[in-house]
């Protein structure tokens, strides 16, 4: 049995709105908005925040993969980010894409990362200042990362299959209907081209939303421990793979497990169900 934590393993990975307001002019801090709603940043954002788009900025535009290290260096440089900059991510959808962007930054080894707890929704609900002014920062000279940390925090399909065959923890963070194979897309979303429904054999269903409160903040550490230790059976030190449909909801859970519960060896299978549900011969369980 795992001892229930009384506080987050890495409380420094979360900041609140007051922290943001205090650090808005801190040159060592860059606030980054990342959303699902493509134009949301343009309608207003936290003063000083830059916009990083999950698809056009972080993904390769031809191959289904992330940008190469040199492109990451360019992205950071044009936003005035250096390896010493603390990047604070926030966004819509309870920080799905903020966590996705944070995870992508970690892929390139950027270590100083934080999430604004509650994201854009909470900031706006509290009536905090928003602006349409797009900030300009002097370009930095971010060095090209020597490697991408795919092996450490990312799982590919063959690794997810190995995880399944070995009976190691696989957490499916999609909705129950998607997990059961009753639907092949989230409610309220278009079909993203998946041919088969269900889940990876052996995966446990724990929707991402279970980890959040109604105001989009993360639940307290003891509650998270109950969910992931007691209900999912996760244990510190055990390899864990999380997945959803394209990797954004599972980034949220990856953040919870890695930073809030402090689990090591958690990897995000970002190919997720849009890969697995189309892959010829991939084993699938339903129900």
């Amino acid at each position: 049995m795992t001892t229930s934590p009384t506080q987050y393993a890495h409380p420094e990975a979360l900041v609140d709105a007051d922290w943001i307001e205090k650090h808005q002019n801190d040159k060592n801090v860059r606030i980054i908005e990342s959303n699902e709603d493509i134009l949301l940043y343009d309608t207003g954002h936290i003063p000083g925040a830059v916009h990083i788009d999950w698809r056009t900025d972080l993904q390769d535009q031809v191959v289904r993969d992330y940008i190469a290290p040199d492109k990451f260096a360019e992205l950071c440089s044009r936003n005035g980010i250096t390896p010493e900059t603390t990047c604070v991510f926030y966004g819509d959808k309870a920080n799905w894409w903020a966590c996705y962007a944070l995870w992508a930054f970690r892929l390139f080894g950027h270590e100083k990362v934080k999430i604004l707890n509650g994201g854009r929704d909470k900031w706006k609900a509290e009536g905090r200042e928003m602006t349409r002014e797009v900030p300009k920062y002097p370009p930095s000279n971010y060095p090209v990362p020597a490697k991408r940390y795919d092996k450490e925090i990312r799982a590919f399909a063959d690794e997810a299959l190995a995880q399944s065959k070995a009976g190691k923890p696989l957490i499916d963070v999609r909705s129950p209907g998607e997990f059961k194979g009753e639907i092949t897309h989230m409610a309220e979303y278009p079909q993203e081209g998946v041919l088969r429904g269900g889940h990876i054999p052996g995966a446990k269903s724990m929707p991402w939303k279970t980890a959040t409160n109604d105001d989009s903040t993360f639940k307290a550490a003891p509650d998270l421990a109950k969910i992931y230790y007691d209900q999912c059976g996760l244990k510190p030190g055990t390899d864990t793979v999380v997945y959803c449909r394209i990797g954004e909801r599972s980034s949220h859970t990856w953040f919870v497990l890695t930073y809030l519960l402090g689990l090591e060896n958690v990897r995000n299978y970002d190919g997720s169900w849009t890969e697995w549900g189309n892959k010829v011969g991939a084993p699938i369980e339903k129900g």
Binding site: D37, I38, L39, D42, T43, T56, E188, P190, E192
Partner: protein
Amino acid sequence: MYPPKLEAIISLFESLPEIERRETLVSYADNAKKQEPRPGETFVLEDVRKDEECADTVGVYLQVDDEGKAHFRMTLGPEVQTLTRAMTAILCKGLDGRTPQEVLELPSDFVTRIVGAELVRVRSQTIYYVLTRIKGICKVYLDRQRMAAVA
């Protein structure tokens, strides 16, 4: 091919560089609230619902004047995405004054000419949603007209 008001909007967007296209879309999105029904207005059909394809409730209200021309009002829930809000304002303005039959026959290929390639992605397919709903209410109106003519 397209109604003149809509054609003018399409031409405007096609002439804009990407940054201004985004700004103009946001400006239209800001104006979506102006498409809501006004006090005292009456409609021949109202269709307010929340579908799976859209993040929040969308209401479509159809008014057909004595000349058979359609006028649309729309309500959008707070979770509706910015592009969908923009398309709402664009379509209410661009299709105003056309007959329901003309609206129903409108091809949807103009949507990408307005939104631009960079903003069209799988998750933003709901840009077509508003047009689908507007066509839907026109179809119901025309079906009822035909049934009434037969009766």
